[in-house]
């Protein structure tokens, strides 16, 4: 239990640092910006209570906001992400047998499930975030292409990180 807390705490700090000092400067053709920090919410254990999940998502969002100078923007998107995560997991994962599969990682859940999970959650988060930031329909093609290309970039990074920390422990 305490190991889980420490791992997640370290993951929080590392992801925020990567996002703020590295990925914030990456911007392909003004269209594709990765928001890799959402991996923290994606990888929280299955057992985390809803209240804690929302609080963590809110804090993560506000932390990113503090560095991006956009109070509330990332927090709002992260809370939406947390809600979609609850829905997605309640639909696709059986509630029993959480003991041997504590975290929704690539190595535990398999490529197919994890890829769907990452794509759906990333897309919802980016859709909400970029629309809220632009807040107009006048540049709709531009906004949509930004959402799609940024999601692609983020999912790519999430998959790479999943493969990088791959532990062979397939679900039986």
């Amino acid at each position: 239990m305490s190991k889980t807390i420490i791992v997640n705490f370290l993951r929080f700090i590392v992801l925020v640092f990567i996002q703020v000092f590295l990925l914030k400067n990456i911007d392909l053709y003004n269209l594709s910006t990765p928001y890799f920090y959402i991996l923290f919410i994606l990888l929280l254990p299955f057992e985390v209570p809803n209240v804690l999940l929302f609080i963590l998502a809110f804090i993560l969002g506000l932390t990113i906001d503090a560095f991006y100078d956009t109070p509330g923007l990332h927090a709002a998107a992260c809370v939406v992400l947390a809600f979609v995560r609850i829905l997605f997991i309640s639909i696709t994962v059986q509630k029993d047998g959480f003991d041997n599969e504590p975290e929704p990682t690539l190595s535990i859940m398999g490529v197919r499930w994890f890829l769907t999970y990452a794509v759906v959650l990333t897309f919802v988060h980016h859709f909400f975030l970029i629309n809220l930031e632009a807040f107009s329909l006048s540049q709709i093609e531009f906004t949509i292409s930004r959402i799609l290309l940024s999601s692609l970039f983020t999912v790519f990074l999430i998959l790479i990180s999943g493969l990088l920390f791959f532990k062979r422990k397939e679900r039986k």
Binding site: D27, G72, A76, A82
Partner: protein, 277 residues
């Protein structure tokens, strides 16, 4: 009552979602509409300090470019020195000049955080109210106009750059002094601006220089960019045109904050006029 409790616990995810979402959106909207000085931005001690640390490392990577820019600027300033002008009179006497008083004071600041890829872009610099910076004053760099200060803390300040949906500065064409407004183009391109509401009498040409007008926060004649194309857009009463911005916002390293010494006097006077109307 019991049923209500059961209902709420059964759908607790949804209710929690509503609570957190509403509070996040409240923060977002409040911040946006009033530009309140809030503690969640990069001018506070923690985030500002971290950014300053990282930017110190990063500044080594562009030392060469900065040296070139500074050398160019030095050369230009040296040309304006009295000593580099040729005096063709033999008798010189010194006059204590009371006609010119310093109106604009420049404070140099290093950019420690910058963005160009979002709909609203901000720049953080490492100078704050301790060095005499106040809210709402203009910022330039050696190449041209940058933006205006929106938040100030003791040691840092946040600048709303020209690349921001709400940024709008008074500008004019350099040759015939026709007034207009400069703002960011709709395409989120960090190298492109839009000059709006120039009167129909003007005959602008592609390649003509656009400079500040002196009506807003900046002294007259600070470069903004050059006209890149003359598309007329919207109503026919006034002209709009694309401007290629002179400042490369993606490589901004040092900026100058302009303190107008007569600003308080001017705004006080103008406020009085508004009261009378």
């Amino acid at each position: 009552m019991r049923n209500l409790l059961i209902f709420i616990t059964k759908y607790n995810a949804f209710f929690l979602f509503v609570i957190f979402e509403v509070s996040a959106l409240l923060i977002y909207i409040k911040y946006n509409s009033f530009q309140n000085a809030s503690f969640i931005n990069s001018s506070n001690q923690v985030t500002g300090g971290l950014y300053a640390r990282i930017s110190e490392f990063k500044s080594y990577l562009s030392l060469k470019d900065n040296n070139d820019a500074l050398a160019l600027e030095n050369a230009r300033l040296r040309n304006q020195l009295k000593s580099s002008l040729y005096a063709d009179t033999l008798n010189k006497h010194r006059v204590v000049d009371t006609v010119y008083k310093q109106q604009y004071e420049y404070i140099v600041g290093r950019v420690i955080n910058n963005s160009t890829n979002r709909a609203n872009n901000y720049i953080t610099i490492n100078k704050g109210s301790k060095q005499g910076i106040t809210k709402g004053i203009g910022v330039i760099c050696s190449a041209g106009l940058v933006g205006k200060v929106v938040f100030v803390s003791d040691h840092f300040s946040v600048i709303q750059s020209l690349l921001h949906k709400d940024s709008q500065f008074s500008a004019m064409l350099a040759t015939n002094k026709e007034i207009g407004y400069i703002q960011w183009s709709d395409e989120f391109n960090p190298h492109k601006g839009l000059l709006r509401d120039v009167s129909n009498n003007a005959v602008p040409k592609v390649g003509e220089k656009v400079v500040t007008s002196g009506y807003s926060l900046f002294p007259e004649g600070i470069p903004i960019g050059t006209i890149s194309s003359l598309k007329t857009k919207g109503g026919g009463v006034s002209l709009n045109m694309d401007v290629a911005l002179a400042v490369d916002f993606t490589k901004l390293q040092y900026v100058y904050v302009i303190v107008n010494k007569f600003a308080a006097e001017q705004t006080g006077l103008e406020a009085q006029q508004k009261k009378d109307e």
